[in-house]
């Protein structure tokens, strides 16, 4: 089992690091400019750092990673399983007395449960770095000031909410993509449709789950 998870982690986790890193840097940069632009009339651009910290940790980090993993891996998982179904490989596994869910789905789910929180942590750090580039290098604010605002606004609970969301998204992406892939008829033409459905349902699922978590968190004292 552990070997299976490690094998999947290579593709689902390590393979996504560069994409997540580049995207997070850019998203951090974009966010800081958007917030600074809104605050400029009040002469409060420096407060952008405060917004960056909690918004990236709670929302942008987990969502960006989830969307990138959906785009990169949900279609791949569903396509792989649908292709295996069409080629009779799933039947072959069952005929060998193996449970396809245990043999195929569980390692992918395990890898996603490790990869998404780890990628989210990386995304949060790099989005904050992207925000610093925007604040300090482009807008010319002092790095120490940026760090001070960051330190004041970022709490452990923000990271907890963000990482908690990533675990939820990992479960959702893994289960929906696997279900779409394994649930198809044994036809080659079903592979593309399964991949498309997986992406659509995973994206909708991630956004719906994020909305739900945000609503729940809003009403839980101590988490907002």
């Amino acid at each position: 089992m552990a070997a299976g998870v490690m094998r999947e982690l290579d593709g689902l986790g390590f393979g996504a690091i560069r994409l997540v890193a580049a995207s997070s840097l850019l998203v951090g940069l974009i966010t800081v400019f958007q917030v600074a632009y809104q605050l400029a009339p009040y002469g409060a651009e420096v407060v952008s750092a405060r917004a960056i910290a909690w918004f990236v940790a709670r929302e942008i980090g987990p969502i960006v990673v989830a969307v990138l993993v959906v785009a990169r891996s949900a279609a791949a998982i569903a396509g792989e399983f649908a292709s295996m179904s069409a080629n009779g490989e799933i039947d072959a596994l069952r005929a060998m007395g193996l449970d396809p869910v245990k043999y195929l789905v569980v390692p992918k789910l395990g890898a996603l449960l490790i990869a998404l929180p780890a990628l989210t942590a990386i995304a949060i750090v790099l989005a904050v770095v992207g925000g610093w580039v925007g604040m300090s290098v482009v807008l010319g604010f002092n790095t120490a000031l940026y760090l001070e605002h960051l330190h004041e606004s970022l709490a452990i609970r923000d990271l907890g909410v963000g990482l908690g969301k990533s675990v939820l998204f990992a479960m959702l992406i893994g289960l929906v993509a696997a279900d779409e892939g394994l649930g198809v008829e044994r036809r080659i033409s079903a592979i593309g449709a399964a991949a498309t459905r997986a992406v659509v349902f995973c994206l909708l699922g991630v956004l719906a789950a994020d909305t739900l978590v945000n609503v729940v968190v809003y009403f839980i004292p101590g988490l907002t």
Partner: protein, 261 residues
């Protein structure tokens, strides 16, 4: 098991049957296979002969429980189960004693050849990983796969894929081998070579085989018993002599078309 069926498998007693299928009808929605009964004696070969779309592949899937039957019972190696309502856990245990070669070979595309063959050993036995690899390597060489065994199946010829599937089916030394269209898509030489390998290994491992094919040569070369399937029903059943002299239309057409006296 009807006396008629028992008589056709060389006088084996019921306890000698490694596979018994009784009144199998399925799949559950629209039955394509209807009231099929057959038995395969231990170490014997039974060929199910039929044209395309006669229900041969579906019959194998129903026996394996990969498709749910409408009714019927199946006994594999003394363990009986209701084909319409099998217990999945029990079915998984039963399947471990059955080797299957699918028409498409159905090798796991993400695994290498040697990983494909060692997979049942790794998953179902306590054999050490290195020993499982040795077993798989040895068996792959026995079935005639040459060259690098760390290749993935997509880089293999159809014959080598079929050989690898045969090695995977035999690696746990099953008491029953189910083979679907062994010569499908192979040229005459390759098919003959695979037949020889199949025969040799079946004899060496002492397992029974149920071979589904539309090719009459399997009926004349390999079996102890033949069932002729047409439109999902066994229309004739017997040993080789019976088949040669059968007066049934479907059997006569099969035999005459191929110029067999």
């Amino acid at each position: 098991m009807s006396p008629a069926l028992q008589g056709t498998v060389g006088g084996t007693t019921p306890e000698d049957f490694v596979l018994e299928v009784a009144d199998l009808t399925g799949p559950a929605g629209v039955p394509v296979v209807r009231h099929v009964s057959l038995a395969v004696g231990r170490g014997r070969t039974h060929v199910v002969l039929g044209a395309m779309h006669s229900g041969k592949s579906l019959l194998l899937r129903l026996i394996l429980g990969l498709e749910r039957s409408r009714h019927g019972s199946i006994t594999i190696d003394g363990v009986a189960f209701d084909a319409a309502r099998p217990n999945e856990d029990e079915l998984r245990r039963i399947r471990r004693g059955v080797g299957v070669v699918f028409e498409s070979s159905a090798l796991v595309s993400r695994l290498t050849l040697v990983e494909n063959v060692e997979l049942p050993v790794v998953e179902h036995t306590a054999v050490a990983a290195a020993d499982a690899r040795d077993m798989a390597t040895q068996l792959l060489r026995e079935v005639g796969v040459l060259g690098d065994l760390e290749r993935t199946p997509d880089r293999l010829s159809r014959l080598d894929r079929r050989r690898t599937a045969l090695a995977r089916a035999l690696v746990l030394k099953p008491s029953l081998l189910l083979v679907d269209e062994p010569g499908h898509g192979l040229d005459a030489d390759a098919a003959a070579e695979l037949d020889d390998t199949l025969l040799g290994l079946q004899e060496r491992y002492g397992c029974a085989a149920l071979i589904c094919s539309q090719e009459l040569r399997y009926a004349f070369r390999l079996p102890h018993a033949v069932s002729v399937l047409a439109r999902g029903t066994v229309v004739d059943h017997g040993d080789l002599d019976h088949l040669r002299h059968s007066r049934h239309d479907v059997v006569r057409r099969l035999v005459d078309r191929r110029g067999v006296a």
